[in-house]
């Protein structure tokens, strides 16, 4: 048995107990002995690097993946779910890391998909459903969407909230949340925490996965760290510190990170400038104007739904822009498709890697080279050796954790998938890189690596436009932050003036102006 288990304190009367759970996928060991116990009414943090096995463990718990060995007991009885249905019947409810929504059904239907309210004839009580969905959404602070909208219309953050609302609809004994806050802003996060507190008081046990240690300390009663599929430690929250957890996660002391001590590497040349640039969704005639300089890291802050993603998509010509000018190196450039944008030296790391970034059922190498096939082919013939070499090189640069370049991208953990998307664009050697939530779902260690990488790229003269919902991320990374609100740039702050208060003030200003009339 694993020596690390010494660190696991026993719980007097555990509700859920996992003992030495193991699971391998072909050659990859995803779980190499997880032991864990959760008390009733406890919020149990589950943390670990990307690929540590958190999501796999959760899939075991909810009957999607069958463990190779190990035992689980729930309220003292053996528990071995075969299907998600079994798990639900036993009172386990899960919010998965990857989205599981029905895009063309309404928000309300999505929330109630497990038990659509029905009359005796099986007819959906639509009004009832909509009202209750409204209440449920209000409860988690999602007020600005109509429950009758198809989910298709929602941005990624709103989708996450809809999933949380869905999980809260059914009474459960154990609620499992796999990185629910990765796409949320603090307002929703706090609401979520309040709800979790409430559930805790009612005796529901909660397993909470997050890469944000501050959240873990704020919310959890106990925390378990997984590393390489094993339980490393399991502690009462009061008995540990962030540093200790980080050390447990990465197996060593993380270099004291990332402060942007060196000055900006921004140079005077403007590589990209927008003049009254307007896309189809933009309500403002005068559009958006700003300059991006060579070697600059320019951040865009804003509330969820402020139009940041749409701006990046328009720059990349993923949707054709309506009007205005986009200048590349001072010359107007008419970009009509992503192809044009890429030819103009622009790369785009999208926020939704599953829908837009990756081809999950194709090999990692194929994903990495997808935008630079010309470099790994001669006369239209693929050079698979070059392709694998490129993948291995970038994989090493990004500390990608993967089985091999020929493995499907679907076999990677969420954070590692994100790195593959980054690798795809780095392989292209762009001069401008648009990053939309570049560290969504990325663990602390990898995040530091990505930050360092971004900075290195900037030093080499790459211009970066970074959208992020994490202010600390923008503040460590950027030379300048623009704040967007209601599809407008409402403020711009040089590094010297960075402060959360200022950014938030700008963000709300726009909101108020908009709702004022």
């Amino acid at each position: 048995m694993n020596t690390n288990l010494a660190h696991v304190d026993s719980v007097a009367q555990p509700l859920l107990e996992l003992h030495d759970i193991r699971k391998r996928f072909g050659g990859t060991v995803a779980l190499a002995g997880v032991t864990l116990s959760v008390a009733p009414g406890e919020v149990h943090g589950l943390i670990g690097e990307n690929g540590a096995g958190k999501s796999t463990l959760i899939k075991v718990l909810c009957g999607i993946v069958k463990p190779d060995s190990g035992a689980i007991t729930l309220a003292g009885e053996a528990y071995a779910p075969h299907t998600p249905r079994d798990a639900k019947a036993r009172g386990l409810q899960v919010v998965h890391q990857e989205f599981n929504l029905l895009p063309f059904l309404s928000v309300a239907e999505n929330i109630f998909i497990e038990h659509l309210p029905r009359n005796a004839l099986g007819v959906v009580k639509r009004r009832d459903m909509n009202t209750r969905a409204r209440t449920a959404l209000d409860a988690i602070g999602l007020k600005d969407i109509d429950v009758r909208w198809p989910v298709e219309r929602l941005g990624i953050a709103h989708r996450q909230l809809v999933e949380v609302a869905r999980a809260l609809m059914t009474e459960s004994r154990v609620l499992i949340l796999d990185e629910p806050t990765a796409t949320l802003t603090s307002r929703e996060t706090e609401r979520l925490f309040a709800i979790i507190d409430d559930l805790r008081r009612r005796g529901v046990s909660i397993i909470f996965v997050s890469h944000h240690l501050d959240e873990v300390f704020k919310l959890c009663d106990r925390v378990t760290v997984l590393r390489n599929g094993e339980t490393v430690t399991s502690r009462r929250i009061g008995e540990t510190t962030q540093d200790e957890l980080v050390r447990a996660m990465v197996g060593q002391q993380l270099q004291k990170e990332m402060t942007h001590s060196i000055g900006s590497s921004a140079r005077s040349e403007t590589v990209l400038s927008l003049v009254n640039f307007r896309h189809a969704q933009s309500p403002h005639e005068d559009g958006i104007s700003f300059d991006l300089h060579k070697g600059e890291i320019l951040g865009i802050a804003g509330l969820v739904g402020s139009g940041r993603t749409e701006l990046l998509r328009a720059i990349f010509a993923a949707e054709p822009p309506l009007s205005g000018t986009l200048m590349r190196d001072g010359k107007p450039a008419a970009l009509r498709s992503p192809r044009d944008a890429i030819r103009a030296g622009i790369g785009f790391v999208t926020e939704d890697r599953k829908e837009e970034g990756l081809i999950l059922s194709m090999p990692i190498a194929a994903n990495v080279t997808m935008a630079s096939l010309a470099d790994v082919s001669r006369a239209g013939l693929l050079d698979q050796r070059a392709e694998n070499a490129l993948t291995e090189k970038l994989g090493a640069d990004l500390k990608l954790k993967y089985g091999g370049p020929g493995k499907n991208a679907a076999t990677l953990s969420g954070g590692n998938q994100q790195k593959v998307v980054l690798a795809k664009w780095l392989a292209r050697k762009p001069e401008i890189l648009l990053l939309d939530e570049p560290t969504r779902g990325v663990d602390v260690g990898a995040k530091a690596e990505i930050y360092a990488l971004i900075r290195r790229l900037a030093e080499r003269g790459l211009a970066l436009l970074v959208v992020s919902s994490e202010l600390p991320e923008l503040m460590t990374l950027c030379d300048r932050i623009m704040v967007m609100s209601q599809h407008r740039i409402v403020g711009s702050l040089p590094r010297a003036e960075f402060s959360e208060e200022k950014i938030l003030t700008y963000a709300y200003q726009g909101e108020k102006r908009q709702t004022g009339h």
């Binding site: 249905r85 063309f104 998909i113 007020k143 509330l303 739904g305």
Partner: protein
């Protein structure tokens, strides 16, 4: 620390906007239909005569009934290529019952309906069960069933046509109420029922859900198997009903009828705006799609085109109809 958000209150006006959009979406193909009707009304003599309209309605009926069932299957992301063969199989089984001597008309017709619908349900069940249990694409399973049902129909009848049905049954097939064929009214009732089931019941919503994201529905604790089997079985039941209508109209049951009917039914569904990948669409669209196909077939004959040109033009119009729908969609989206 992350950004906070000041949320505007929900806009209650959004709902009517949505149903308006929904209406427009169905109206899209409606526009193509209206254009077609106008065209034929202006260019041919008898097109809008009451007689011709009831002809068209009669001619639409069987395809419409098949297409209703097909809508269920396509909504869950499946396809059913076997409906044409199943029609023949159901018809010969139903026809055999119908010609059993010494039964009263009522007995004969009820038993025959039971037999035809039961046969259809059974074949449909098999389609659904095999594809769901083995996780096989329904395309290939129903392609198999296409051959099985046809072979079975030929085998049980030894390729002979069954005929001599009760005269009153046959009369029913051409009966009219105020110039509207009764069989068409039956089809219309089936449309209404299907619409209700699909849009108002839990069952229907889950079918849409499966077409949207199977995995999500499974994770929500539903048995995919049940719903998939149900969709295919419903398609089979409708084939059985269509077989009865066929017999009432043509007064025969032959093992070689229905060849290629599946393509017409699928065309009606897709022209009607239901997405082939599932999860989106409506049976009202299917009704309009079936009307387009029927109006086209009838109108082009009245228009006096040669058979060959007629076939060519039919192809062109099918494509144009969906282009018009798409075009409208683009316009309304902008």
């Amino acid at each position: 620390m992350q950004l906070d958000e000041n949320l505007p209150t929900a806009t209650a006006t959004a709902a009517p906007a949505v149903s308006m959009k929904l209406l427009l979406r169905d109206a899209g193909i409606g526009i193509a239909l209206v254009l077609l009707i106008l065209f034929f009304a202006l260019t041919t003599d008898h097109f809008l005569s009451p007689n011709n309209i009831s002809n068209i309605l009669t001619q639409i009926t069987i395809n419409l009934i098949l297409a209703i069932g097909m809508t269920f299957v396509i909504l869950i992301g499946g396809i059913d290529l076997s409906v044409g063969s199943m029609l023949a199989f159901c018809a010969v089984v139903g026809g055999s019952v119908l010609t059993i001597p010494d039964l009263s008309v009522f007995q004969a017709v009820s038993l025959a309906t039971l037999a035809a619908v039961g046969t259809g349900a059974l074949c449909g069940f098999l389609n659904g069960w095999i594809s769901a249990f083995w996780g096989l694409p329904s395309f290939i399973v129903t392609l198999g069933m296409l051959n099985i049902a046809r072979g079975a129909a030929l085998q049980v009848t030894d390729a002979r046509t069954i005929y001599s049905f009760p005269p009153s049954f046959n009369a029913f097939g051409s009966q009219m109420i105020y110039g509207v064929p009764v069989v068409f009214l039956i089809a219309l009732a089936l449309v209404a029922i299907a619409w209700f089931v699909l849009s108002k019941t839990v069952f229907g919503r889950l079918l849409y859900g499966i077409g949207n994201n199977e995995e999500a529905v499974r994770l929500a604790g539903h048995s995919l198997m049940t719903y998939k089997i149900a969709a295919f079985t419903i398609a089979g039941v409708l084939v059985g009903i269509a077989a009865m209508v066929y017999m009432a109209r043509l007064n025969i049951a032959s093992p070689i009828i229905g060849i290629g009917f599946e393509l017409n039914a699928i065309a009606a569904v897709i022209i009607g705006g239901t997405s082939l990948s599932g999860g989106r669409g409506s049976v009202i669209g299917t009704l309009l799609g079936a009307c387009i196909i029927g109006v086209l077939a009838n109108g082009l004959i009245l228009f006096g085109l040669s058979d060959f040109m007629r076939q060519l033009i039919t192809g062109v119009v099918i494509i144009l109809a969906v282009i018009i729908d798409k075009y409208r969609e683009r316009i309304t989206a902008a």
